[in-house]
């Protein structure tokens, strides 16, 4: 019933004990730190409502804030570009790099960059790309896509990272401790920062009333990526808009606590236009590429609430499915519950319809979401669409049709259930069914309690014939 590609990725993930250990190490810490941060914040519930309202207000007035942002960013000296699709966005970025005669670009971590396929586009254009975020550096060396939106190298154990550095770094040293590995990466990356022609970053917030772009990191790599090169390019989804800096701060408090449990990021930087006369450093050209790539379609198709997403990763860290299969099994740029909503938008529902179904609808993602996105409701929406578009397999449709036929006809449902119980009990030994035809999905991994000898309704009829 499952798409073979998804099933194969899931099987591969479940068979990897290192992956399980790596996921639990990072998400377990994230969960307990987030819980402590939320518990220490008496106004969390009110802040969450405010965050939700800010995002919904921007979404409802997107045209106004987009044009305000463009006007103010342009006034500050930025060059604003509009991209409807991933392809258009990549073409714009590659075009800027080529016009600047860039041989080498540095890049700060940006999920939007992954979404639009920027790494591939740069490679195809023959431009050398240096990832400067530590985790992105690791997965660039490994040739892997990110497996988490906050910790892209979540799937790598520190032992695997040490092996990668030993193989690729010029001066790896002993690599006996995490600190030694970080030092090795720093030595490797330092010389690249200064040599780059273009720096590319994402944005956590686009601030409409100043035209500034806000990035937050914990490593400081974004500042080294965007300051020394001649050209700085920002790629950002249009949902990153906020009305003002104060609104960005309200959302930042929610974002950081939900992502890592810290109160604030180590580096919170506002980029507003290129280097001005008298500035000690900064790029001489500052480009902002505003990317739609399905976002306005989400507005039209009942997914507006998803545009609230701050990309904090809390829904991934708390998802029982993500915690078992990790990010790569989802097969899209974004994994976990938010990815299961976004991937069908970006890659189409046909072929990705497993993602909204591979979820127990337990609601924990919605509970921890800092902007109260009703993720289970949105996933149910995709399930309905998948049903309407005929993407669900015939065996599921057939059995649900038969089930419905009986459920609506109690006079047939009673003898049918009585018969089913009798058949099932043929397979029971001492109260448990260990194997039964058509029940392999259950009995492959667990025993099935034997059903009752008689249904509740039949027993009741005997006990209370008149009722």
């Amino acid at each position: 019933m499952t798409q073979p590609a998804f099933a194969a990725r899931v099987d591969r993930a479940l068979a990897d004990p290192d992956l399980k250990r790596a996921i639990e190490r990072t998400t377990g810490t994230a969960r307990s730190k987030r819980a402590a941060a939320v518990a220490a914040w008496p106004d969390f519930a009110a802040a969450r409502e405010l965050g939700r309202d800010i995002k919904d207000h921007v979404t409802a007035n997107l045209d106004h804030y987009l044009l305000t942002f463009e006007r103010n960013a342009t006034a500050a000296g930025a060059i604003v570009h509009w991209a409807r699709t991933a392809q258009e966005a990549c073409d714009i970025v590659v075009g800027i790099c080529k016009a600047a005669g860039a041989a080498s670009v540095t890049r700060a971590k940006s999920m939007l960059g992954e979404e639009i396929g920027l790494p591939h586009a740069l490679a195809d254009a023959g431009i050398e790309r240096v990832e400067t975020d530590l985790a992105e550096h690791i997965i660039q060396l490994a040739g892997d896509p990110p497996s988490h939106i906050v910790w892209p190298a979540l799937h790598k154990t520190r032992e695997q990272v040490a092996a990668l550095f030993r193989a690729h770094h010029h001066d790896p040293g002993a690599l006996a401790t995490v600190a030694a590995m970080v030092a090795s990466a720093r030595r490797e990356l330092r010389r690249r920062f200064m040599a780059a022609d273009v720096g590319i970053s994402g944005a956590n917030f686009l601030i409409a009333d100043t035209g500034a772009v806000c990035t937050v990191t914990n490593e400081g790599n974004a500042e080294l990526t965007t300051t020394p090169p001649r050209v700085h390019i920002v790629t950002a989804g249009i949902e990153k808009l906020v009305p003002s800096t104060a609104h960005a701060m309200s959302l930042l408090r929610l974002l950081v606590r939900s992502a890592t449990g810290a109160e604030v990021t180590q580096y919170t930087t506002f980029h507003c236009g290129p280097r001005r006369p008298g500035d000690a450093d900064g790029p001489t050209a500052f480009h902002i590429v505003l990317v739609d790539n399905g976002r306005s379609r989400m507005l039209a198709e009942g997914l507006a609430e998803m545009l609230r997403c701050l990309r904090c990763g809390a829904c991934l860290n708390h998802c029982v499915v993500f915690r078992q299969i990790g990010g790569h099994a989802y097969g899209g740029t974004y994994p976990g519950p938010m990815g299961a909503v976004l991937t069908p938008v970006l890659d189409g529902l046909a072929g990705t319809q497993d993602l909204p179904h591979a979820c127990t609808l337990n609601g924990q993602c919605q509970e921890v979401c800092p902007v109260a996105i009703p993720l289970p409701t949105l996933l149910r929406g995709w399930r309905e669409r998948s049903w309407r578009e005929g993407l669900e397999p015939g065996v599921v449709r057939g059995s649900l049709f038969a089930w419905r036929f009986l459920v609506l006809r109690p006079a047939l449902y009673r003898p049918a259930t009585a018969l089913a119980l009798r058949v099932m009990r043929l397979f029971a030994r001492r109260g448990w069914i260990a194997r039964m035809p058509l029940a392999g999905g259950w009995t492959r991994h667990r025993d099935l309690p034997s059903p009752a000898r008689q249904t509740f309704m039949a027993q009741l009829r005997q006990r209370r014939p008149s009722a």
Partner: protein
């Protein structure tokens, strides 16, 4: 089970398809508890299933038809009680979303939603009832099923009820509010993922050292009990209603009812 307290509210018991077929004692425990709490219990005979298989599979048209059947069936009861958090949440929260606002069916669905309660929360919140004279010498642990916990806010009620059972102690279950991996059709559509989740749940249950696993949703209980049994664990599983009705001296889930 008699008409000892005829002045209480008339309650329609929606027993759920799983209890009907897999675990009838839960239905009889629910009747006993509701009668002890002063209700006049009736069991509408044409009831079948609340429609979750269609609802969770995206078959909206199918879910609408089954909801209409259930709405008509339960139209006349001042209160409807369901011994399951997920089936109660389906009626309370999801039925109204199946119909367009302003239609007669939407009004009827909303009306039913307002009258429908999960059993354990109904006993505590609406009937202000706690068991008296029930004893069970055992060490139990409690799993909070997700729909009851997050959609209906059920967490304190079962614990208050169980605290009134003499001799019963509750051991804290690590991750009691984490999904057990059942998820209705999820567990058979994605058996390997479900197994990985329920395996961790079973380990956590075993680590409590409890003799009994209790909960408020039969689907989750069957999933966890089935995994515990496959692992050879000695933990026995009951619906909380069975314990409260003094029926936990009988066979546990899977112990040959």
């Amino acid at each position: 089970m008699s008409d000892k307290v005829p002045e209480g509210p008339r309650v329609g018991l929606f027993v759920t398809c799983l209890v009907d077929t897999m675990r009838p004692p839960i239905g009889f425990a629910a009747i006993a508890l509701l009668e002890a709490a002063g209700c006049r219990v009736e069991v509408p005979r044409r009831q079948t299933c609340c429609g979750q298989p269609a609802l969770n599979s995206g078959d909206r048209a199918g879910a609408v038809r089954v909801a209409q059947h259930t709405i008509e069936l339960l139209a006349s009861y001042p209160h409807v009680v369901v011994p399951s958090g997920s089936c109660a949440a389906t009626i309370r929260l999801h039925y109204p979303t199946l119909f367009d606002a302003g239609t007669a069916w939407h009004r009827r669905a909303t009306d039913l939603a307002e009258r429908t309660h999960e059993l354990l929360s109904y006993l505590v919140d609406v009937r202000q009832w706690l068991p008296a004279g029930v004893a069970l010498n055992a060490r139990a642990t409690y799993h909070d099923s997700c729909s009851g916990l997050r959609e209906l806010g059920i967490a304190a009620q079962p614990r208050r009820l169980l605290a009134a059972v003499a001799g019963l102690s509750l051991a804290r279950l690590e991750g009691a509010d984490t999904c057990c991996g059942f998820g209705g059709t999820f567990c058979v559509k994605y058996p390997a993922i479900s197994d990985a989740i329920v395996s961790e749940k079973a380990q956590a249950i075993e680590a409590t050292g409890a003799d009994l696993l209790l909960g408020g949703d039969l689907g989750c209980l069957m999933n966890m009990a089935g995994k515990l049994h496959r692992r050879g664990a000695a933990v026995r599983a009951f619906h909380t209603a069975e314990v409260l009705a003094g029926m936990a001296d009988g066979p546990a889930i899977g112990d040959g009812a």
